[in-house]
Amino acid sequence: MWISSLVVTLPSDSKRALAITESLRAIAVITLGEARGVRLPVVIEASDGVTSRYWYQWIESLPGVQHVELAFVSFDESDEALKIDSDGAPSPLAVGCGMPGLFVGEEEAK
């Protein structure tokens, strides 16, 4: 189990902020804390670090999210899924990584 926490900065527009909050609340692995103004504390429970990273980037990509800051990461548990790829090659499992679209699907150049 991989546990991390973030502070998500919401837009000042309350309707958009509410929409984001509801989107987050719908995800089982995400627990919301008490918002302080536009700053919303969030805890992510993921099966492994890759999934945790996926959720981090998913939140970051939500329309209207201004900023995401990491607050805490636990990293004292072993995790098979977190082992470095032995050949260092890009893995098709790297969904949600920093290179979206590169190894997923066949997006064509114009």
Binding site: P41, K83, D85, A89, A94
Partner: protein
């Protein structure tokens, strides 16, 4: 672990995680705190049997502080240090994972010597003896290649060993590759190195102008200050002057995409506009500045010119001509000039590798200072020019300790008799011990090491510590790979993991890293930061500083005269309270005293010479870093300095002076406003190589990736290098996203995946490749051409061709 115990632990960690996030959410981090940290307090996650201590982050030059949680001799948690002024509890994605750098599966744990082509384990005694024998046989054919990741005591010891002990100045750090142009820029403008200002500027500027600097990814915590101010409703204008769209551009009010190298013309155009409009700050310039031209031939010292001569030189850079050179529109150039012409705004210029890794790096640094001095945008918080660094102690260990080939500690130089005398006195050496001839700078050092042994001036033994030149040097085929084909070369590498450099090493020494040893760093804003050892290194890994002292003592045992001071004592002699010498060269006694403190206090005497005074070690140990000069007040407390040369904040500025550049090149307390011309780069795209190739970093990885590629989260997030290519260029070449493409320059070729419209995007005719991936070494392709004064190579522009690979 039982199911109940697992659930309990998970709930506990969840609580700790939520508490940390809630505390962070409660603060407006860099503004007025809603929930301020009480003095001396720090709300740390409460974890059973975990002890916490402070340390600066191991990665970049920002100098964030982390709190490190240790349990049973192992680092188990890291959180941002809310007491640290630099980051106020924030960390970037690398910083949060910094604890994991210690625990990669392939840590080096025993010395390895290459015998008959194979690396075989040997004892430390044998390793130290092998090095000492090599040096003893040919001390002038020996060199040290160090790092801006050396701690201050490590760099100081290495400097003293080679310059004071071996009378050999062949020592240079990897920081030559990242900020040497900033050094020459500061020295030739102000007479003394390092920024006069500090990060506080980010909290006060009205306009933040980034010169070729992807600030959002490279210094994300500092960038958070900008985001934070905007969230609080403050208006801060961000101008991104860049050669490609990046994450920084996404946040910018104005994105000005310029042609590579044209920054020189743009800066001169701004100066011309200020004079044309009569919007330059006459009072400031007449009171505190002199003018200087490059001279014939151009030199670092240049020659004095008048204001009229300066006006004539910059008048060549009209809006129209500069627009042609830079690709910026006349409106965009006017916008830049408007900002500098407006004294009611506070304008902060920031730069890092885009300006420094430049064949005209010194010139470009000169020009950035010049437009701030000319416009009077200088000296107020938020209003000035500031360079950033990429390594945690590029400033502390390289610039201040003087581990560059021409330097001595405290800003002294080997080619200056007085400087040598001071160093010889402080080191208790016989007069004349220090060699007055500067040693080889980085590019020259590796050329000399990769030249046959019978070549004049060739180096035969090279000791690398805390860096990875086999990946980070430019034009690797010429400057590194040739070593494999040469006889008589011996490469020693002290490191924590196998790297591209250890591939060719003859002797590998396993090193302790970060909180496995005591340390002191100096960050980008003159802040000196101390930490204590918290855990033991694995296996037989040992401190780099110990390695240096052990070799020095082995040479002393071999009766090498240089390892003796003028009284015949060992160069690094330390005594206990009873006066007995402590055998530091024996590992089991190395921590009998805090050698970091001893070396630091010895070094500290140098720092007062050029008004870079550091705090005593015990004071530093209590602080989250202090910005020099740090001076003692009458009440016995120690005060840091936010702004140098400015009356009221710098203790060395005399009353009623307002500004005093007290190390002025011209000896009259004035700074220099330089003219430096636009110069065409040494290699430009042509028919055969029609693209510009730019290289750099990404958010997830730090430099050559030797640490971050061993952190699974970061490796998975960005697993491989890629070439960023413009969509239209890709379409024309039949390249699709993810296709393997061959990238070719005059120096080599490399096959890697293409990335179109990804995190960043290049304009037509431009390519970008990050350099973190040891399996895809882009520096096989880069150019070693360098700035004539700083000797810093240009990694940001060379000519390339790209071809789709047909499988």
């Amino acid at each position: 672990m039982s199911a109940n115990a697992t659930t309990s632990r998970r709930n506990f960690l969840k609580s700790a995680a939520m508490a940390a996030a809630s505390a962070l959410a409660a603060d407006s981090v860099f503004g007025e705190a809603v929930n301020p940290v009480p003095p001396g307090g720090n709300e740390l996650p409460v974890l059973p049997n975990v002890t916490w201590d402070k340390a600066p982050c191991r990665f970049c030059g920002t100098g964030c502080h982390v709190m490190v949680g240790v349990q049973d001799g192992k680092v188990v948690a890291v959180t941002g240090d809310r007491q640290a002024e630099v980051n106020k509890g924030l960390l970037c994605v690398k910083g949060y994972h910094v604890g994991m750098v210690l625990y990669g599966a392939d840590r080096l744990k025993t010395p390895l010597l290459r015998k008959n082509g194979e690396l075989v384990p040997i004892s430390w005694d044998e390793a130290i003896a092998v090095i000492a024998e090599r040096i003893h046989t040919a001390p002038q054919k020996f060199a040290i290649y160090g790092s801006g990741q050396w701690t201050i005591p490590e760099g100081y010891a290495a400097n003293k060993f080679i310059k004071g002990g071996l009378s050999n100045n062949h020592i240079d750090p990897n920081a030559r590759l990242c900020m040497a142009s900033a050094v020459t820029g500061y020295i030739s403008t102000f007479g003394v190195d390092e920024p006069y200002n500090c990060y506080d500027d980010l909290d006060h500027c009205d306009t933040l102008l980034l010169w070729g600097n992807n600030f959002a990814e490279m210094h994300p915590v500092l960038f958070s200050r900008v985001v934070d101010r905007r969230l609080r409703g403050e208006s801060i204008e961000l101008i991104d002057l860049t050669t490609r769209h990046t994450r920084t551009s996404q946040q910018a009010n104005h994105v000005l995409v310029m042609q590579p190298q044209s920054d020189l013309a743009i800066a001169n155009c701004i100066a011309h506009q200020l004079i044309e409009r009569n919007a330059w700050d006459r009072e400031f310039v007449e009171g505190f500045c002199n003018f200087r031209g490059p001279g014939t031939p151009a030199s670092l010292k240049g020659e004095p010119i008048t204001f009229e001569q300066y006006r004539a030189e910059v008048s060549q850079y009209t809006i129209e001509r500069t627009s042609e050179i830079s690709g910026l529109s006349p409106q965009q150039l006017t916008l830049l000039a408007d900002r500098f012409a407006d004294k009611s705004r506070k304008v902060l210029s920031l730069w890092c590798m885009g300006v420094n890794q430049h064949t005209q790096g010194t010139a470009m640094n000169n020009l950035l200072h010049a437009i701030h001095l000319l416009s009077g945008h200088f000296g107020r918080p938020g209003d000035g020019p500031q360079s950033l660094t990429g390594q945690p102690s590029a400033c502390g260990t390289v610039r201040e300790v003087g581990t560059l080939a021409h330097a001595l500690p405290g800003g002294l130089r080997v080619d200056d008799e007085k400087g040598r005398q001071i160093a010889e006195e402080n080191w208790k050496l016989p007069a004349g011990r220090i060699n007055p001839q500067p040693g080889y700078h980085t590019v020259l050092m590796w050329e000399k090491f990769c030249s046959p042994s019978d070549t004049e001036g060739a180096l035969d033994t090279l000791w690398v510590q805390v860096t990875n030149p086999g990946q980070s040097l430019p034009n690797l085929h010429k400057l590194f790979n040739r070593k494999a084909d040469l006889d008589g070369k011996f490469l020693i590498v002290s490191d924590v993991y196998p790297t591209a450099t250890t591939e060719l090493a003859d002797l590998i020494l396993p090193s302790a890293m970060w909180v496995e040893k005591n340390g002191i760093f100096g960050n980008s804003e003159r802040r000196t930061q101390q930490w204590y050892r918290m855990v033991s290194p694995p296996g037989e890994a040992r401190d780099d500083c110990w390695q240096m002292i052990a070799v020095a003592h082995k040479l002393f045992e071999l009766n090498h005269e240089g390892m003796k001071d003028r009284d015949g004592n060992f160069l690094f002699t330390q005594r206990d309270e009873s006066g007995s010498e402590i055998p530091l060269w024996e590992w089991e006694h190395y921590y009998d005293i805090n050698i970091d403190e001893r070396l630091y206090e010895e070094y500290r005497q140098f720092t007062r010479i050029k008004h870079k005074d550091l705090a005593p070690y015990p004071v530093l140990a209590k602080a989250r870093g202090l910005r020099w000069p740090v001076v003692e007040l009458q009440d016995g407390t120690w005060k840091e300095t936010r702004y140098r040369f400015v009356e009221g904040t710098d203790p060395y500025v005399e009353p009623a002076k307002r500004f005093q550049f007290y190390h002025s090149v011209t000896g009259d307390d004035r700074a220099l406003i330089w003219f430096r011309p636009y110069v065409v780069p040494p290699e430009v795209p042509d028919e055969e190589f029609p693209f510009w190739l730019d290289t750099g970093r990404v958010l997830e990885h730090w430099h050559t990736g030797t640490m971050t590629m061993r952190i699974p989260q970061l490796q998975k997030a960005m697993p491989t290098a890629y070439v960023e290519i413009n969509r239209d260029d890709a379409s024309e070449l039949g390249i699709r996203n993810g296709d393997a493409v061959k990238l070719i320059t005059r120096r080599g070729e490399l096959t890697l995946p293409a990335w179109i419209d990804g995190r960043a995007s290049c304009p037509p005719g431009h390519l970008f490749v990050p350099f973190f991936d040891e399996k895809l070494l882009v520096n096989q392709l880069t150019l070693e051409a360098h700035c004539p004064f700083s000797k810093e190579p240009d990694y940001k522009k060379c000519a390339a061709r790209i071809e789709r690979v047909t499988l």
